[in-house]
Amino acid sequence: MTALASPRISLPTDPNHRTAAGVRWERRLQLAREVLRNPLTVFGLVIIGFFLLMAAAAPLLTEQNQPDAYQAPRDWSNIDVPPGTDGHVLGTDSTGGDVLYGIIWGSRLSLQLSFTVVFTTLVIGTIVGSIAAMRGGRVDNVLMRIVDIFLAIPELIFALAIAAVLGPSFENIILALASVFWVKYARIVRGEIIRVKQSEYVAAARVVGDSTWNIYRKDVLPNSLTPLMVQATLDMGNVVLIGATLSYLGLAQAGLTEWGAMVSAGQSGLLAGEWWVSTFAGLAIVLWALAFNLVGDGLRDVLDPKMEGR
């Protein structure tokens, strides 16, 4: 029997050959394809990819400074030289630190800042928001009043106060930002969970007799996470923006290859026409924040609850 004679060809898309995991991946891929349809999102992803590569390849792109890689090597014979000078593509600052080196190694710090702060605040916020929404009543009241206290103070001022109390260091900036940002997530998670808890599929799960924990895990949480993911992506950029502000104000170690600290270090040279230090570092900050905002917006468009299920 030839292959042509047999009409029953089993294709990979044959529903009977599917597996649950396969179908879930298919759905994720489809979502990814939708996200990539927006050119602005793609642009943002390219910039993020560029920064990620830069951070990963930092030891290859530059000769690592000893003993601390996050201090730019000092070239005392070339102070405040403009971009294009031999050996200093983007120039140097007033202590002979190479600007390009600072930006490359600074991307590692920004990455560290973004991921640490967003990840920890996401976890803390989800836990607090979930407890408040699932328990309700007095627990909810107490937790949400605490959140209100945090939200009453502008995040920059609050972070500034905490970092100032803890003392100037990059780790303390991370700590300060983490202690400020979680409240937003707690609030979002709580609102979403309260919405989802009233849905009929949660009622249906209760009729089936599933446990509260399972209902939380399978129904409530997965359906509450969408706005959280969008907010987290946007915050990846915001965190670096606020972190840079703090180190600009002098809350990071002196000479650190952090973009905000570099903008601050180059500021004194601006009037003398030495624009390159602040400008290139500032550009890096702007691009980082812009990239994550573009991706966040793109995600929001695709994951919009009104579009869900279409």
Partner: protein, 457 residues
């Protein structure tokens, strides 16, 4: 008299084998106001419901939206905790008679034998005092199909996980055995097992409702609450789902509680009908009899409000007037009387009825009321801005049906009108004929509804 009397229906005919019996079930939601959230009243969503659902029957629960039928369904499914009343599980006819009898007896004046019987009924059959296992068994045995099949299926779960969930929870199935059982269930509801690995949004409304039905039947329940399962569907699909439900009932010997606002649907499906109005049962009885010879004007109005193509009966139809009263303070006497076309003096008129009536139909006159001084719900002094308004009010009242119920003539002094109505107890469900209950005071007295030509004056 203002307080709600527990409804005790005397000598009613029991159902041969009742899956569920409801006695005086209430769901009152507190209304909170102000900074301190003090309770100022209660929304009486379900306000004293008596209902019996026999095994293998389809009980159609019919009523307008907002009458409490969905809340009642949720109480039965265990999703809403009732604030009063009892739910009894699996009572024989004899036990129903016992429960009816013993409920009317004061605990203090019970004989020893009565007390023992009451005790054993409670621990064996009453939700709340049964053993935990029995209670869980009842929950497993009672499943729900919700109205909105899109909202009742988790959009992030595969059909296999949705339909297989009860099996995972209660039977610990997983892997191939779960798939096989889910496949069987999907075949049973006419979907086919090839749909197992798809998401709910990839299906049409009718298909999604089939998924809901498959989930509800996964644990082989005996009793299914169908909460308007077809009202979100196209008419052609509605018929398919209804036929599926009928077929499944025949195959599996299911008992249905079919909640709907559409009497037409229920007529074809149910063996028994309960008509609900403003949190209470207005009429209960076998479908044919309820349809052909309603014992409550509300039932007749619901029946005749179905539009018919031939335009029959149009001239003689009864109509409801006004809007649905506020469930925080429902009307006294019979709850329908302010809207009822055949209401008479004995139906329970009170001061609120008169005030609501002029608020609805003479808003300008209503604006001129300056003060209402109540002695109770039936007696009050209503003061107007001017004597002219007071006279206009008195004239209106004298021309209305409510005037038949005053127990002394209206007194008009200056701009104040003193009104006093006869106090009437709240209407309760009574057995009028074998197996037929109605809460209409007029039919309870006359034995039947007045002829159709008799309408309001």
């Amino acid at each position: 008299m203002n307080q709600h009397q527990p409804t005790i229906i005397r000598d009613r005919t029991p159902v041969s084998d009742a899956v569920l019996t409801l006695h005086d079930v209430k769901v009152h939601y507190p209304v909170k106001e102000g900074l301190l959230q003090s309770v100022t009243g209660h929304v009486r969503a379900v306000d004293g419901v008596d209902l019996t659902i026999g095994r293998g029957q389809t009980l159609g629960l019919v009523g307008e939206s907002g009458c409490g039928k969905t809340t009642l369904g949720r109480v039965i499914a265990g999703l809403v905790e009732p604030t009063g009343g009892d739910l009894w599980v699996n009572l024989t006819a004899e036990q129903q008679r016992d429960v009816d009898r013993l409920r009317a007896v004061e605990p203090a004046s019970m004989t020893a034998a009565d007390r023992a019987a009451w005790q054993s009924l409670q621990t064996g059959h009453r939700l709340g005092s049964m053993s935990r296992e029995n209670q869980r068994a009842y929950r497993r045995n009672c499943q729900v199909v919700f109205q909105d099949s899109f909202a009742s299926l988790n959009p992030r779960q595969l059909v296999r996980d949705i339909v297989g969930r009860p099996l995972r929870v209660h039977q610990g199935l997983s892997g191939d055995r779960l798939n096989a059982k889910v496949g069987e269930l999907l075949d049973m509801v006419g979907l086919g097992s090839q749909h197992m690995y798809r998401y709910p949004h990839q299906f049409s409304g009718g298909q999604r409702q089939r998924i809901s039905i498959a989930r509800a039947l996964a644990l082989n329940p005996e009793f299914v609450v169908l909460d308007e399962p077809t009202s979100a569907l196209d008419v052609s699909v509605q018929a398919q789902i209804l036929n599926l439900l009928v077929d499944l009932q025949g195959e599996l010997g299911l008992t249905y509680l079919f909640i709907t606002h559409d009497l037409g649907v229920v007529q074809h499906l149910s063996t028994t009908i309960a008509v609900m109005y403003l949190g209470q049962i207005a009429e209960y009885g076998p479908t044919d009899l309820v349809f052909n010879d309603p014992l409550h004007p509300y039932t007749r109005i619901l029946r005749d409000s179905n539009p018919s193509l031939d335009g029959e009966n149009d001239a003689t139809e009864w109509e409801l007037t006004g809007s649905v009263p506020n469930p925080i303070s429902p009307p006294h006497g019979c709850r329908l009387h302010p809207r009822c076309p055949v209401a008479r003096a004995e139906c329970g008129w009170s001061v609120d009825d008169v005030l609501t009536d002029i608020e609805d139909r003479a808003p300008l006159l209503f604006e001129t009321i300056s003060r209402v001084e109540r002695q109770d719900d039936f007696t009050a002094d209503v003061t107007f801005d001017t004597e002219v308004s007071a006279r206009a009010f008195a004239d209106r009242l004298q021309a209305s049906r409510a005037h038949d119920a005053v127990d002394r003539p209206l007194e008009i002094a200056d701009a104040t009108v003193s009104v006093s109505f006869r106090e009437v107890p709240d209407a309760t469900l009574q057995q009028l004929r074998e197996g037929r209950l109605t809460s209409c005071t007029r039919t309870q007295n006359l034995g039947a509804l007045p002829p159709i030509h008799e309408t309001r004056r």
